[in-house]
């Protein structure tokens, strides 16, 4: 009889009023004290009295309201359940786990089946309930997590596939030897078999003759009919077991009126096998027609073996395509030292909650995101940002889960856990992107959709053509027709078409993530590769985005001694401590860095647009703009020239006036990031026009542009006008990449063909940009464009290969070369070509894993 809280996932809510309906229904249900339904997260948080109601009832309530609760089911084995007197305690124990809807144990099968609310019940809960009831699970419960289930299913698939291949391969060797004996037995020429003239036969004939001679040299006499029966026998298990999936697939496809790879292989090998069986069982039928009763058992086994091998290699190669994301996911720490009730306890990382104080010792991984409260250390964030130099952390700094603490010990307060962490968001974002396709794939998809039925039609057509126009007599033409039919089916490769884009995107986006570049979708990747003009925002993109004092030029006292810059800074900062202007922040920061102690200020006044004034240390201190100083006709002396010079260098000069005498010029500027110049040089080398956009005055913006090597500047653009500017350029037919910060420039980023949000640090926060750069390094823009172009090139090659292969080889398989060269392709060679074709597409995509931006090699050469 206690209050219990549960969060149920609700399915089927399409609007906020749906949420209201569910909430109303739940609140009105017996035993429920409160219920809150969140439409955005599709979750209902319910507090109820477990003496009055239970989860099953709550779910019924939700269903009655017309919605659904996520339900999952798991069945697991239990040791020695046979001998238990009753299963009731076990069922009760399982059912008492919050979130379990129903639990049924079966003594006969020694299993228990549990229906539960996904996300609420963990495998550990169930195992605990089993142990509490005095039983034991046979093996760890794993099905809670569909990802885990998928992994298990895949690895099991690969294991059986391997054995199926081994069987098929061994039988193929035997069948090959047998078939060579049969082949060599017949004289070449008009009465020879077709196998002697196909491309493989031409290669194998000398070997076959040598084999025959060796066998007769041993004095063995072989009855060739028995050889055929023997081959039929060894081929049977290959067809029934190894090739099972092709026939099952063919059948299921037929029922669903779809045709795929399996249909092609299934019909192809099926035809060859049945043909061979007839030739073995009723050779007379063929011989009477003047036809060699050839068997094609070795072709059947070889095709199955080669296609299985292709699939195996493909599965392994495809496993490697998602390696990058697995490496990212593996960065998560498993445990954390958390301070609870004043004690340090070790807990699993899933149990860390927001607000927890977490201690990280030297050499340990930072488990979740947070803000340092105590201690100091340097943290290696290279795994997330690509930045090789460890970043210093002191109280107030943010730390990110998955990064590595180096030397010091720090304590931090948790701000984000689980999927909310930067790492969680990165993994999610990359996974989502990898599931998308580039528009370039559309054509391939359209072709793939009609590909198989058309290939079957072509195979039938080539059968007819061979039968009608093939070599005489007619019976001989039948053999050629059948072989051509099978070869066309086997050689066609729709898989290469389907794999061309997804594998490349998988590898490309994964590789990008390793450079701290998050690409949102295949479409964004394609647009990035096609972009022609780069628009760079100035503040925060080319520059650091935080104004800093760069120079303090002081006047001389009447006696000729210079005024101390430290004094000037002290006075200026003391006045500015009351101001909120960005330039004031720069002066305060400089004072802080120089450890200048501030003095109290009296009679403070901000002069709108001109500066500030206040009394410090009995002096009237003013910090004003250069323009205001000139307007007031203050005597600037040589400082006037200094101020103009600084202004021309893209710095903002402010004048410090003490008791109406100009004491100093303080130059404040937003420093250019050290990497910006190289980055822009690289982008220029890509042949892309670069335009800088800035809200600053023309003079200041041009000075920055000149320093980094940009010629095209559009200055004095209000943030709100940036999107219009992008639109204007687009109307001129330009494909625009806009690089800017994700918050102020968001409309422009969204308007651009590709928006790149730069340096959002660890707060990826699902912005609207197509590309997010974790680090504020402009060189990543270059890397991203290069990688996008490389990926698109890979995709293009994959598609050319996939289309070219089919367009070229299907006619050859049909016998297009026969009238010219007399060549006929063998079905075995066809299957090898097919397996290689789809594998090569995956391997080609994998070359992207080795992608390196050219600037890294340039830096290496330069140093």
């Amino acid at each position: 009889m206690s209050k219990t809280r549960i969060v149920l996932p609700i399915e089927g809510m399409t609007c906020a009023s749906c949420a209201a309906t569910v909430q109303e229904a739940l609140t009105g249900a017996a035993g429920v004290s409160s219920a809150g339904v969140n439409f955005a997260t599709n979750k209902a948080a319910i507090e109820y009295d477990d003496g009055h109601t239970n989860v099953a009832e709550l779910i019924k309530t939700v269903r009655a309201a017309g919605y659904n609760c996520g339900k999952a089911s798991v069945t697991f084995g239990l040791t020695d359940l046979h001998y238990a007197p009753s299963v009731a305690p076990l069922e009760q124990s399982l059912a008492s786990v919050p979130g379990v809807i129903r639990a049924v144990a079966n003594q006969a099968t020694e299993t228990a089946t549990v229906d539960y609310v996904p996300g609420v019940v963990t495998a550990a809960d169930l195992e605990q309930a089993v142990t509490a009831a005095g039983f034991e699970v046979a093996e760890p419960i794993a099905a809670e997590d569909p990802i885990e289930r998928e992994r298990i299913a895949r690895s099991r698939e690969i294991r059986t596939l391997t054995w199926k291949f081994v069987l098929a391969a061994v039988v193929t060797v035997v069948a090959m030897l047998g078939s060579m004996l049969l082949m060599a037995d017949r004289p070449m020429g008009d009465n020879g078999t077709m196998k002697q003239v196909d491309l493989l036969g031409r290669l194998l004939m000398p070997v076959a003759i040598a084999l025959r001679d060796w066998v007769s040299g041993q004095g063995w006499v072989l009855d060739l009919d028995w050889v055929k029966w023997g081959l039929a026998l060894v081929t049977l298990p290959v067809v029934i077991w190894s090739g099972q999936q092709f026939y099952k697939g063919t059948w299921s496809g037929l029922r669903h009126r779809t045709a795929d790879m399996n249909t092609l292989i299934g019909v192809g090998t099926g035809t060859a096998f049945l043909y061979s069986l007839v030739a073995t069982a009723a050779p007379g039928f063929f011989l009477r027609a003047g036809l060699p009763a050839d068997v094609y058992y070795e072709a059947v086994t070889a095709i199955i073996a080669l296609v299985l091998l292709g699939r195996l290699l493909e599965a392994r190669a495809k496993g490697r395509t998602s390696e990058a994301i697995r490496r990212l996911a593996a960065l998560r720490a498993k445990a954390a030292h958390v301070v609870r009730d004043g004690h340090e306890t070790d807990v699993a990382v899933e149990e860390v909650v927001v607000g927890d104080l977490v201690i990280v010792k030297p050499g340990e991984k930072i488990p979740v995101d947070g803000v340092v409260t105590d201690g100091a250390s340097a943290v290696n964030e290279s795994m997330l940002t690509g930045e090789p130099i460890p970043v210093a952390k002191k109280p107030g700094d943010e730390v990110v889960g998955g990064t590595l603490n180096t030397t010091g010990s720090i304590t931090f307060r948790t701000t984000r856990v689980g999927k909310e962490t930067a790492l969680g968001q990165i993994v999610q974002l990359v996974e989502d992107a990898q599931a998308t396709k580039a528009p370039i794939q559309k054509l391939a998809d359209r072709v793939a959709g009609v590909f198989v039925p058309i290939v079957i039609a072509l195979a039938i057509a080539s059968f007819v053509a061979w039968f009608d126009f093939g070599p005489s007599p007619e019976a001989r033409a039948l053999v050629y027709a059948t072989v051509a039919f099978v070869t066309v089916l086997i050689i066609a490769c729709p898989c290469a078409l389907g794999l061309a884009t997804p594998t490349a995107i998988l590898v490309g986006t994964g590789r990008a993530a390793e450079y701290g570049i998050l690409i949102r979708s295949g479409e964004a990747l394609e647009r990035l590769a096609n972009a022609k003009t780069v628009l760079l925002d100035k503040t925060g993109t080319i520059t650091e985005g935080s104004p800093t004092v760069t120079h303090i030029v002081t006047a001389k006292k009447p006696d000729g001694t210079p005024i101390s810059p430290a004094d000037v800074l002290k006075w200026a900062a003391s006045v500015e401590q009351r101001s909120e202007h960005p330039l004031a922040q720069a002066i305060l920061k400089a004072a802080q860095d120089k450890q200048v102690s501030l003095l109290p200020v009296e009679k403070f006044a901000a002069m709108e647009g001109r500066g500030v004034r206040g009394t410090v240390d009995r002096r009237i201190i003013e910090v004003v703009s250069l323009r205001h100083a000139r307007e007031r006709s203050l005597e600037l002396g040589s400082l006037g020239a200094d101020a103009d010079r600084l202004a021309a260098q893209a710095r903002s000069p402010v004048i410090v006036v003490v008791n109406n005498t100009v004491y100093a010029v303080i130059a404040i500027s937003d420093p250019i990031k050290p990497t910006s110049k190289t980055a822009i040089a690289q982008l220029t080398r890509l042949g892309m026009p670069i335009v800088m956009v800035s809200g600053d005055s023309r003079k200041g913006a041009e000075a920055v542009a000149a320093e980094v090597g940009i010629e095209d500047v559009i200055a004095e653009v209000l943030p709100s006008q940036k999107a219009d500017l992008v639109r204007k350029l687009q109307r001129q037919g330009k494909h625009i990449v806009m690089v800017g910060d994700g918050i102020n420039d968001a409309p422009a980023l969204a308007q651009a063909d590709v928006g790149i949000a730069i340096g959002t640090g660890t707060d990826i926060a699902m912005e609207a940009s197509d590309v997010t750069l974790i680090r504020g390094d402009l060189r990543a823009v270059f890397t991203a464009i290069e990688l996008a172009r490389r990926t698109m090139r890979t995709i293009r090659w994959n598609l050319i290969w996939a289309f070219g292969y089919n367009v070229l080889l299907i006619p050859i398989a049909a016998g297009a070369l026969y009238p010219i060269t007399g060549w006929v392709l063998s079905p075995v060679l066809a299957s090898a070509a097919m397996a290689w074709s789809s594998l090569s597409v995956v391997l080609n995509s994998l070359t992207l894993r080795r992608f390196q931006p050219r600037w890294t090699t340039l830096v290496a050469e330069g140093s």
Partner: protein, 144 residues
Amino acid sequence: MTSAQIAVTALGAVAIVWVLWYFLYSRGNAVASTPTAGGVQEVRVTVKGGYTPDTIVVRAGQPVRLQFYRDETADCSERVVFEEFGIDQQLPPFQTTTVEFTPEKPGEYPFRCGMSMLKGLLVVEPAGERRAAPSPHKFHGVAA
């Protein structure tokens, strides 16, 4: 031409036409949706080497909820695409994924897998005189 050749040619032509028709144009048995208490037309679809059922009949103007259970790991069925409704949904294996939308106009809307190998058809019938079930969408207008 011998009679055998004529026969084979004729049979071949018929077979080609049949293959193309069967795989590209014909349709399987249709399954009508069942409206839930909320007025949502719900259909469960099993994805394994194809969609079962592969033809789904619904009424226009009412929300449709399709629950795809993907019972395999084969790459082909990884996504389900309803082009006309702008839906391109990933289907994780061994999970039920819900796809929801409201077809406004009657007509036939094909859906397919990401590689266009598996196909299905959504048949949207005019709202007709079937009584609309009470809808919780109080503020959304039960125009149908």
